[in-house]
Symmetry: none
Subunit: 198 residues, 4 copies
Amino acid sequence: MAPLNDEQLHQIRDERKEQIMEAALKVFSRRGIVGTKMSMIAAEAGISHGLLYHYFKSKDELFTTLVQMAMLGAQDAMKSIYDLQGSPLDKIKYLTKEILDESGRPYFMLIHQARTSEGVPEKVKELVAQYSMNSFVDELLPVFKEGQQTGEIAAGDLVELISAYLSVLSSLMMLNIQDEENYRIPSSDILMRMVTGP
Amino acid sequence: MAPLNDEQLHQIRDERKEQIMEAALKVFSRRGIVGTKMSMIAAEAGISHGLLYHYFKSKDELFTTLVQMAMLGAQDAMKSIYDLQGSPLDKIKYLTKEILDESGRPYFMLIHQARTSEGVPEKVKELVAQYSMNSFVDELLPVFKEGQQTGEIAAGDLVELISAYLSVLSSLMMLNIQDEENYRIPSSDILMRMVTGP
Amino acid sequence: MAPLNDEQLHQIRDERKEQIMEAALKVFSRRGIVGTKMSMIAAEAGISHGLLYHYFKSKDELFTTLVQMAMLGAQDAMKSIYDLQGSPLDKIKYLTKEILDESGRPYFMLIHQARTSEGVPEKVKELVAQYSMNSFVDELLPVFKEGQQTGEIAAGDLVELISAYLSVLSSLMMLNIQDEENYRIPSSDILMRMVTGP
Amino acid sequence: MAPLNDEQLHQIRDERKEQIMEAALKVFSRRGIVGTKMSMIAAEAGISHGLLYHYFKSKDELFTTLVQMAMLGAQDAMKSIYDLQGSPLDKIKYLTKEILDESGRPYFMLIHQARTSEGVPEKVKELVAQYSMNSFVDELLPVFKEGQQTGEIAAGDLVELISAYLSVLSSLMMLNIQDEENYRIPSSDILMRMVTGP
DNA sequence: CATGAATGAGCCTTCATTCAT
DNA sequence: GATGAATGAAGGCTCATTCAT
């Protein structure tokens, strides 16, 4: 069989890369960088572990790449709520679901891993510093402020409130919902009480 | 000189054992069983890694011992709130602080590790099953119920509420408070809103 | 270039596996399971110690596999004498040489190790029980009985005689013949006197 | 209590030393130098493992001391048969029992360990060379020669015959008689056939 | 590009030996 | 003399990474 031409090769490369990243995200986000073996990612992606090293120089690089992508995606998600219709509280509810629901969760989990795990690469530490909690708080400040004005959001220091809100969401994500016996992700209603106040 | 008498030996043994367990608790609770190397515990305790094995047969045994102790301690902490004076809400606030403050936190963190980590010993899985979240919920049911009657606690399914409350606390604990740049443990006020309701 | 096809891979795997087993047999049979380090086997096979674990899960598994094979081989050797021409005594002489000569010796030595060493895996203990001395005695009973009838074999309890004969052979094997200064494997003539009688 | 005087101390030293050596002989002779842990010897002697090092500098020294003693004892046993009454064959039978019976067996087993085990100290290798099989053969040559003259012993090369005889005895000793399932020490009758011939 | 064989650093654990008491 | 706490070298095993095919 004739060798593939350049374009085909490029496409294979991209598809494969995406396939690997998807698998890696799935595994890294649950198990962290230390708890993840390259063989797990390979198995999840349905390829040999050797092939991983054609697309990523090392486990660290793969992890770092994913964190970078997740950081950008998280910021996008924050920004995207401003495109929605509805009250400020509606927007915040939407974001809450976005973070806790299946779709976006792995990204936020990965960010959490990057922030809290020991043994992450130096580059990841830099990313964590660059995309600090504050940068996400800034992104949400306008909608929360508007909510305060409409009375939907509790009075008080907004930076504190938003930080607390994001911290709770971030940590909750990490709970294995399968394991109902032990943990239960709170309903939106209960969660929203934190920000709406009495 | 005569060898040490039994009492002295026991004291040394107990002190060392405690010293090791304290060090191990510190490290395990932050890094989990997989992320913890025996050499880390040894370094934290200021002893050689070989000595660990005079006191504990294996890493697994050490971890299991700590989890067992933490489970008992956690249940005690739950029960202890009934000895306090004050309204139901006061008691819940007290427990909240107990869990999030420096003193009790490592124990609860360890329990969280036991519940969520991969690679924990079989014995720990049994302990987790035995001391399930439900058993803790049961412990708190009376005080929450009383709070509902006095109107301090929001109406609604109490098991759900308490589970949510404990889940939030459990996950929050795992955040490095030092890491102010990234996370902020919510103030009691904000947390309490979840249970007091609007 | 395309990856190796299945057949090639299997061949490599099988060759390597055989190479490792040969090396392991050599070392285990002399030094027993405790006295053998995986690095010795690796060195003997000319590979890295890490590679051993691609082919065998553990030292125990490797040892067990070899013992199993040796047990089967030993039984085959016993049976094979019935295919030979010649008098009963000829057949027994042949078997004696088979056991003491370079070719079959390591297998019988390994069986001896399995029977007499401390620290052998549980599975090996089962194998030893399954392939007990008695089962080998049973295999040889017909030829010895025939020998008794022809007068070549001494009168008396055959089970005792065969057991004694096998015990002597088994223990003799373990002598390092290189080390002539200290031990001398008896000549067949001398050995045969035990079974032929006065 | 007043400290012991010199003589008392010396006696304790000797008694202890003997107690340790007896225990060590028991364990070493069965399990070899590699399979024996210092803690096993301490347990067998009923003392702490630390105390072993008051009497013997190291495991190697302890082993070497025992081998030395066993070598001397073995030679004595050989010589002692000449003090007996009876025919040459009677003397050889006596020696055979001496070697295989409970009393002298550990010494001969230890010698066997010294000769055949890997990982014995250099000093032991020298001892093995010094007290080679040949020296034992020499010791027995007269009685065997006499037996040949009386016709009790088979004709042929005596050095070969004696070497074979000792090799068989040495290796048989190592069999665990308990382990009847697998091995059976031959009866004297069967063994004697080797030397008496047809 | 794709595979899996191969390597070796590093972790858990054991055990001979030392030493304070 | 006697004890057992303490140390560290070394062995079994895992897994990230490399490389021949």
